[in-house]
């Protein structure tokens, strides 16, 4: 599987993502600087976590307006898979690739904590290695992860099965509506999620639950 990671000034989980993808796919992803205007040929493009542009103004807002995003929108329209994690999720919503918005955590504080996720839709390229209803561990680390969408949008994403992951067993760390932790676009080729599967992939991390997400993508590409 060919992958690429977009790097913005202020991205800081890009290194974690490079490491995870290299470990799991066996090849190092291409690194794409935010000022570039074309993306390499890849099956999966990742927008990593961090504080792009310091997350000043709104999380992800400034990054969503960088040159490379125009190209990313084009690729997404062509069906290339796009995964945004944490700040990546915020960037994809700001860019209009995903519905809704990510607001300040209900507790107003940055939260770094392991939570539980339920895979509510395992029929996506990002979740097929999980069982439907499977509950798995995943770390979170964010300040603005409180997912919000208006009633109409919410109904449509729920009805379309766009909600892929939900916080389970009362572990919602941020007040997200309907416990939403990860959503796709209508076509299902773009996923945004707040938790960090890339930080739970080897024994050192104390578990490997996050691996299945990448293995889902790998299975698709094979």
């Amino acid at each position: 599987m060919k992958t690429a990671v977009i790097v913005f000034p202020g991205s800081n989980r890009d290194r974690d993502m490079f490491h995870a993808l290299e470990l799991i796919t066996g090849t190092r992803p291409a690194s794409v600087w935010h000022t570039e205007t074309s993306l390499p040929d890849a099956d999966l493009v990742i927008v990593p976590g961090g504080f792009s542009y310091g997350d000043y103004l709104r999380s992800g807002a400034i990054a969503a307006r960088s040159p490379i995003l125009k190209e990313l929108v084009k690729k997404a329209d062509q069906g290339v898979k796009v995964l945004g994690v944490c700040n990546g999720f915020q960037i994809l919503t700001e860019a209009g690739l995903l519905p809704g918005a990510l607001m300040r955590n209900a507790g107003l504080k940055f939260v770094c904590r392991e939570i539980e996720l339920e895979t509510v839709n395992n029929a996506t390229s990002f979740s097929n290695a999980y069982q439907k209803g499977q509950v798995w561990r995943c770390p979170t680390a964010h300040h603005d992860g409180n997912y919000f969408a208006d009633a109409e949008t919410l109904k449509s994403i729920e009805d379309n099965g766009q909600v892929v992951f939900r916080y389970a067993n009362g572990t919602n760390p941020n007040g997200s509506i309907n416990n939403i932790a990860g959503v796709t676009n209508a076509k299902g080729n773009v996923l945004g999620m707040m938790p960090h599967p890339e930080n739970l992939i080897e024994d050192l991390n104390g578990g490997t639950d996050g691996r299945l997400l990448f293995e889902s993508l790998l299975a698709q590409a094979a």
């Binding site: 202020g10 800081n12 290194r15 961090g50 504080k109 940055f110 770094c112 680390a141 991390n205």
Partner: protein, 578 residues
């Protein structure tokens, strides 16, 4: 604009924290009255913060060498060999006074400062810790300080992208008017790619990098060395605001630049930024430095030479670069959106010359600015030892369960999860043990090796018996490191005390340093970096003596280590030790 020809009066001298005999020393040194800017430069170089004038004599007694120590105290951070050509670079530093005035920004810029110290040496920061002390939980200011400081530490470190793997939080009434914020950072660098601050070569460009200079914290270094009183309110607008985004860009740009071979010397701008960094680079290299302040990127209009020389604006660096790599260097900084300006040149005159608007506003002997700073052998008295309380003197609790609940429910015994959940403890993907155990553990990226981190001190022990308390702080850090199975390598210290001009406070400082020295010698645990914060007093009341010790250990195989949780019912519980 503030002119440079302001008349130097005794009041002005005093307001710069310089004592009359110190001013006499200045007159003798330069053979004339200093200009206003020169007075500012002396005040910055000769205050406690930069000159360590009260503590130097005693700090020299600490063991700082060892087979693994590559760079000891005196540089931006200590450097310790961890095998395979790799090193760990670390230091701890206080930001106590700024955090009391503006807890969020004070703590944030404290973290920013220590991270800069580490990456200035060429190391990528891989772990952070913080040691925090606040007043009583029900003191009216405590809640505000705790919440501001913790979110400030997190706000900066999380955005910068370094995992916080340990720390401590304690409450005691002696910190009611003077909280402590000590930040630790560690980074990794190859042994043959360590960068130092010593300038080399005459006629080379002195380059300014990073954020623009504003009036932030003008006089801040002076403030850090002055006791608090009610006039503190007036000093408020000098607060520095941190910009972790710029710092992250500065990190990436510096590391990228260092790879090109362009960097001859580098020094971060901390307290009294431009002054201390330029003087240090020149003095260490036996060179003069000439600065042209009109080239300094500024954020505000009409900044005077005095203000530029004393500004504490954050996220700035000074470098000496190879001239032939200048264009390459500039391109890297432009890529990261940072300011890049050639602001001066190295000379062979051994003078520190500062020009502004065509006028020479300072012309001082560069080595003497540092070397001739006053050094005091302050009078001290041995602290009266508090009586030892024998176990038999303490009544047995009537109800053990109640007592236990009281202990774990108290401010100093309860879980610190509320604090460390606000810190990103996992970023970089190498965290093997996050806060909550004896020591934080990270994997050395790309290897099987692990590094372990702990920070500790018990100020109650230090006040009861400074010597024993100092020893104990080192021993506890050592134990934390060995408890996870690592070999302790070296330590850093952050000595927080009251006013050293009082013999009893000086006695605490001396006692603690002696204790630390003795323990470090006995354990082959050298101190490779550190920081001293004195004058931690409010209305004449000093804080408890608080010499925080930060230690680093090495695990040959990070997967082989001990953790503190009980593993199974029925296992035997063993107590070992004396």
């Amino acid at each position: 604009m503030i002119p440079n020809d302001i008349k130097i009066t005794p009041d002005l001298i005093a307001s710069h924290g310089l004592k009359p005999d110190e001013y006499e020393r200045i007159l003798k040194l330069i053979g004339r009255e200093p200009s206003f800017t020169e007075l500012g430069i002396f005040s910055a170089m000769w205050n406690e913060h930069c000159s360590y004038k009260s503590s130097k004599k005693w700090l020299k007694t600490l063991p700082t060498k060892g087979p693994r120590v590559l760079v000891g105290p005196g540089e931006n951070a200590g450097v310790v060999d961890i095998g395979d050509g790799q090193t760990v670079v670390f230091k701890m530093e206080s930001h106590n006074h700024p955090s009391y005035i503006e807890p969020y920004q004070g703590a944030a810029t404290g973290v920013g400062g220590i991270l800069r110290d580490v990456f200035t040496m060429g190391a990528r920061p891989v772990a952070a810790m913080n040691a925090l002390r606040f007043g009583e939980p029900n003191h009216p200011r405590t809640r505000h300080l705790v919440s501001g400081v913790v979110s400030g530490v997190g706000g900066y470190g999380n955005s910068f992208g370094v995992p916080t793997v340990g720390g401590e939080v304690e409450f005691h009434s002696s910190y009611n008017g003077n909280c402590l914020v000590n930040a630790f950072a560690a980074g990794l660098a190859d042994a043959d790619k360590i960068f130092l601050s010593e300038a080399k070569g005459v006629g080379l460009p002195v380059v300014y990098l990073g954020a623009k200079t504003g009036r932030d914290g003008v006089g801040g270094a002076t403030m850090a060395s002055a006791e608090f009183d009610d006039t503190i309110e007036e000093k408020r607008p000098t607060v520095q605001v941190g910009d972790p985004f710029t710092e992250k860009c500065l990190l990436e740009a510096c590391l990228e630049l260092m790879k090109t071979g362009a960097v001859i010397a580098i020094q971060d701008m901390g307290a009294a930024g431009l002054t201390c960094s330029a003087v240090e680079m020149g003095a260490k290299g036996d060179l003069g430095i000439e600065l042209d302040l009109n080239k300094v990127p500024v954020r505000e209009e009409n900044m005077s030479a005095y203000e530029m020389m004393l500004s504490e604006s954050q996220e700035r660096m000074l470098m000496v670069l190879s001239p032939e790599k200048e264009a390459e260097a500039e391109a890297i900084f432009k890529k990261w959106g940072l300011d890049f300006a050639i602001v001066g040149v190295t000379t062979d005159t051994l003078r520190f010359v500062v020009k502004h608007n065509g006028e020479t506003v300072a012309d001082l002997p560069i080595k003497e600015l540092g070397d001739e700073a006053p050094e005091y052998d302050r009078p001290w008295v041995e602290s009266p030892k508090r009586p030892v309380i024998a176990a038999a003197d303490v009544a047995e609790p009537a109800d053990y369960a109640q007592t236990l609940l009281k202990l774990v429910g108290g401010a100093n015994g309860s879980s610190r999860r509320w604090v460390y959940e606000q810190y990103d403890t996992l970023i970089q993907g190498n965290t093997a043990a996050a806060p909550g155990g004896d020591a934080g553990v990270i994997r050395v990226d790309g290897t099987r090796k692990g590094l372990t981190f702990s920070v500790d001190v018990n100020p109650r022990y230090c006040v009861a018996d400074p010597f024993e308390g100092g020893k104990q702080a080192v021993a506890e850090v050592w134990r934390n490191l060995t408890a996870v199975g690592s070999e302790p390598l070296a330590a850093t210290d952050n000595l927080n005390f009251g006013n050293p001009e009082k013999p009893e406070i000086m006695g605490q400082l001396v006692g603690c340093i002696k204790g630390i020295g003795e323990a470090c010698s006995a354990l082959d645990f050298p101190i490779v970096s550190g920081n001293v914060s004195l004058y931690n007093e409010t209305h004449g009341e000093a804080i408890l003596p608080t010499p925080a010790i930060g230690g680093v250990g090495l695990l040959p195989d990070v997967s082989v280590r001990a953790t503190s949780s009980f593993k199974a019912a029925g296992d035997a519980i063993v107590v070992i030790g004396g």
